[in-house]
Symmetry: C2
Subunit: 373 residues, 2 copies
Amino acid sequence: MNRTLTTLRVFNHNSTIPRIRSMATSLARHKIVVCTDLGPAAPLLTGRDDLDVISWTENRSCDRAWLLRNIVGAAGVVVCFQNAVDRELVDAAGPALRVVSTISVGHEHIDLKVMAERNIQVGYTPDILTDAVADSAVMLALMASRRAGQSYSFVQNNQWPSFYWTPFAFCGPQLSTTPFSPTRTVGFLGFGRIAHAVLKRVAAFGITHCIYTPRPGAADQSVRDVRLRDAHGLVSVAPVDLLTLARESDVLFVLAPGGATTRHIVNSEFLRQMRATSVLVNNGRGSVVDSAALARALADGWIWGAGLDVVEEEPQVGSDHPLVREPRCVVLPHIGSAASETRAEMATLTACNVLAGVMGEPLPVAIDYSTIA
Amino acid sequence: MNRTLTTLRVFNHNSTIPRIRSMATSLARHKIVVCTDLGPAAPLLTGRDDLDVISWTENRSCDRAWLLRNIVGAAGVVVCFQNAVDRELVDAAGPALRVVSTISVGHEHIDLKVMAERNIQVGYTPDILTDAVADSAVMLALMASRRAGQSYSFVQNNQWPSFYWTPFAFCGPQLSTTPFSPTRTVGFLGFGRIAHAVLKRVAAFGITHCIYTPRPGAADQSVRDVRLRDAHGLVSVAPVDLLTLARESDVLFVLAPGGATTRHIVNSEFLRQMRATSVLVNNGRGSVVDSAALARALADGWIWGAGLDVVEEEPQVGSDHPLVREPRCVVLPHIGSAASETRAEMATLTACNVLAGVMGEPLPVAIDYSTIA
């Protein structure tokens, strides 16, 4: 268990929250604005009479105007990726604002430079979603290779009753190894915590080789790689260059963060090097993959299929989007971490972060500005 | 590696086929009727000039009349589950018929009593599809819990651009354990080779407990269960009664064979005992699950979701079928073993079985009548 979750566990026990509660009684009544649904964790905030909690409750994304109006005098604000937290918002809040708590691992919507200037703590929810996203990545790998989107639509569209079964109908490459096809290589673009969790899962399908591209300037990881190899019974775990990653991956998992440095790493040049039987999975950031290039790669058979939880144009990904129209492309609406247990834990941590912040306590899990800038 | 695959591997090497070839030159030219597509394995038969191979090539299921006309004088016939092999067919073939080779693990379409009477060998393709079906079972478990059918349709139906994201949208139970939700029980109705392969895979998702219903009168398997438990790092592997299986499974995999003894084991009474967060996966036989009862269980929230590769009414499962209409039911058109590698291996074994049979050799993998009757 890692540090974050240990901290969260402490917060879920009775030891810490009562301490905050007792402090609160000696302080002014704090205002917290909540822009998103915290589900089962909401009562951690709304159930307290020492707080003034204002929640957005409409069944649509929180209005910017509503937020600007209500944040005046707030000590804390709970946001999700849809709510930009910038200089304008901080100015509207005024000097009472001590903490921004986002229910996300990403923080592109928060201007960290402004937060640092104003000494506003920023809480977020990393790590917790690792298992849920890893589950989703394995699901997408299976769905893309085994044509689950196509065959699901086939049944939905009333085609099963007239299906002419043949031994090779709906066939696609097998994720697991077999005695006659005894090797399989998974590649990772982005080899962090989620990638390791995916590797653990796919190893049980008989995967034999793991390759990944290290971050530029990253320290040698050969000791860790041997440990991973042995822990999962693989033949090898090895860093490779980008071209080798494209050429040798049977399944390529894109789990890299967004931003300018990773934009369109998966482009036409990369995709042309992949195998005709290979599958691309993107659970990272849409911007890493060039949508137009991927649509062409699928249409022209450079690769077998794709499973995407993120798309660079999201949410402007309509039914006429070239990737949605590709029969061997499974597009899901960014639900990689949408597992009930995980989202409840994220919501709980989000509530605990904002609570600690308004009380002037260190947050259970805060963004360290010094590592960002 | 098991016996079947070792035998098949021998067949894929050069040692055995040339021996058959040399024998064939000293024998009459054998007639083989092929009713189904053998894909990359077809040339094993059609590429030989010592055989008279007649293949059904139309893009629809093989006509019975065509088969009855062409089987006259045949020494071997290659069939799939769509082609009934009964007394009428054997009579039409005449005394030359030595072997029926089916590209399937099931043999409900073959009258084994008649085959035994006439001393006709029956080849089939068990075991090979274990890994492909296990992959598909894990995929269906993930799809059913994480609402992949619903969310895939959502994107296909142009709904992503207007999606109001909230932290609990599209959430469903998480297959993998988390530090806050640290136990998970998988149940198996039918605990044979495929179930063991599924168990190996889901163990890597952090599953902690495995329960199964033993076959009536089966020998004690506690030694095997301890071995499975330790091999996969589980807390326990244990036989239970049917009621406990229903009550305690977070994910229930139906992998039982068909027939009268297993018909509708999963009925209303069973489903009412399951948890509201549990998921049912059927990769076994459709007849084991009462479709009407399952549709009601989903509609009324007795269980969370279902992933079905088989349905009792198949292929008469149209878009108006109550299970196809249930949003949390993922129905796929019986493609559990439809992985390219596996189907190519099944086709190769099917070709090798018919070849050996017409030459009067023992089949690489034959049905042993004595264990059936």
